[in-house]
């Protein structure tokens, strides 16, 4: 049963991040995701300091505010003439440092330590349970399910608007698509995803799970729907394969999952290049006949 919860958590992380990552790749915002995955720590600590509990709901609220704040500050610095990557670098390190300082100052005695936030420990997930509607499941599973539902709802409601605002934001705005609202809505959903994945894979590896599966799917997908399906499949596959490899070699589960994501990407990229090369040689052979 314990193994079941761990595998399920990994699976949910893979699927939730796989879904959230698609528009990150298409909007070329991978670095913003990296920034948010760190700055949500600031939001979580603030939520803890204000409410004095580690309640999942307040954690989500704090993370959402921190995520939006990050996106807003980056935008603000960028539009005042600073390069976007420099803006991201400044904002996320400052907010992350503030988060670390606040933890050590005000939250030293609670279960909120820097190492846990950064690395996560999926093996401990089954012991921290919540009962809701007479169902008892690990807290991480509840959080991931909730965030998965929120992400799916956001996409179902705004799929065509997100597609247009991503492909051609100026045209989108010219026909009244609320591009700014969509941007911050999407940033909120990325913040939620990051918090939900905290417990299991940690803030750093969540970036791998957000970007890797979608980047792999992007290599060969012809439509966004295809990209969603393959991204989810890659995320889920990487979680399960990563878990069992980690068990076999007795190593870090989250680390193994992220390594599997990277491996999937490299294998897909290489096989794509080989197929392309074969097609080219075939074409030149046919032309020479």
């Amino acid at each position: 049963m314990i193994e079941f919860w761990v595998v399920l958590t990994g699976l949910l992380v893979g699927i939730t991040c796989g879904i959230a990552g698609v528009f990150l790749i298409l909007r070329k915002m991978s670095m913003i995701a990296d920034a948010i995955s760190h700055t949500v720590l600031f939001g979580i600590v603030m939520a803890f300091i204000i409410t004095q509990t580690l309640n999942g709901f307040w954690m989500l609220v704090g993370a959402a505010i921190a995520g939006i704040l990050t996106a807003y500050l980056v935008q603000l610095l960028h539009s005042s003439g600073i390069q976007e990557d420099a803006a991201i670098g400044v904002v996320f390190t400052s907010l992350f440092a503030a988060g670390v300082l606040l933890i050590t100052l005000f939250a030293g005695n609670v279960h909120l330590d820097v190492e846990h936030v950064l690395m996560g420990e999926i093996a401990f997930v089954p012991w921290d349970r919540w009962t809701l509607f007479a169902v008892t499941m690990p807290k991480a599973v509840w959080m991931l399910l909730l965030v998965l539902l929120i992400n799916i709802a956001f996409l179902l409601l705004f799929f065509k608007e997100m597609k247009l605002a991503t492909f051609d934001p100026v045209y989108a705005a010219s026909i009244g698509i609320p591009v700014v609202f969509l941007h911050y809505g999407f940033m909120t959903s990325i913040s939620f995803t990051t918090v939900a994945a905290f417990d299991s894979v940690g803030a750093i590896l969540v970036v791998a799970m957000l970007i890797g599966p979608s980047a792999t799917a992007y290599l060969f997908s012809k439509t966004i729907k295809q990209m969603f399906i393959f991204s989810m499949l890659f995320g889920a596959a990487a979680s399960i394969v990563g878990y069992y490899l980690a068990k076999y070699w007795d190593t870090s589960i989250a680390g193994m999952m992220a390594a599997t994501v990277g491996l999937l990407f490299v294998v897909t990229l290489c096989s794509q290049k080989i197929i392309e090369h074969r097609r080219k040689t075939l074409v030149s052979k046919l032309e020479n006949m």
């Binding site: 247009l164 100026v170 009244g176 012809k222 439509t223």
Partner: protein, 242 residues
Amino acid sequence: MNALTVENLSVAYDKKTVLDNANVTVPIGRLSAIIGPNGAGKSTFLKAILNQLPNKVGKVEILGEIFEPKNLVVGYVPQRNAVDWDFPTNALDIVLMGRYGHTGLFKRPSKQDKLLAQQALASVGMQDFAERSIGQLSGGQQQRVFLARALAQNADVYFLDEPFAGVDAATEKTIIDILKNLKAQGKSIFVVHHDLQTVKEYFDYTILLNKTILASGATEEVFTPQQLQKTYGGRLFMMQGM
């Protein structure tokens, strides 16, 4: 009523003025060229009209009303290189985007929307490429898809940003025929244009722009060596014999 009225329009980026106190009035039903040297602020002028720049001051009226994007009276065709053509979707899907404003939030495009998109794609001669990934289209084909998207929107006023840049001769012919046809239907079209050789042939109205509107009016009145000299300064040396 005028298609476009611009009063005291100014735009500055980082305290650098790109557009300074532009004033212009264009009647309905004209096919207008917006011409001026590189960096004259032509794209900025379009974006300011479309209310895309928060840092603009001045008044813009389209068809006698302050422009509201949700009214959908304006069809905008951005520069082709303004978007990433590796985006995973096909040509028809891009054209269908022209219907999103009509479809409304939360709803999927209807069969009617899809039909209109297919018709728009056919009108630019691209019906056989509906299912083709946009990344596999040539530059000219991509430009046609962009025009088809604006056509699918069924707007009254069209703004095109350099639609002839880097396209083949056949595409240029197709596009100008469509624009002339739109004009015949009483629509108003504004085109940022670079090729001075074709201005007289294509456009019945001309707006000369360099940081501000220097002249505007019927092409035969405005498109004169003196006015062009004023717009392009010393850079205009191949204009003899036009």
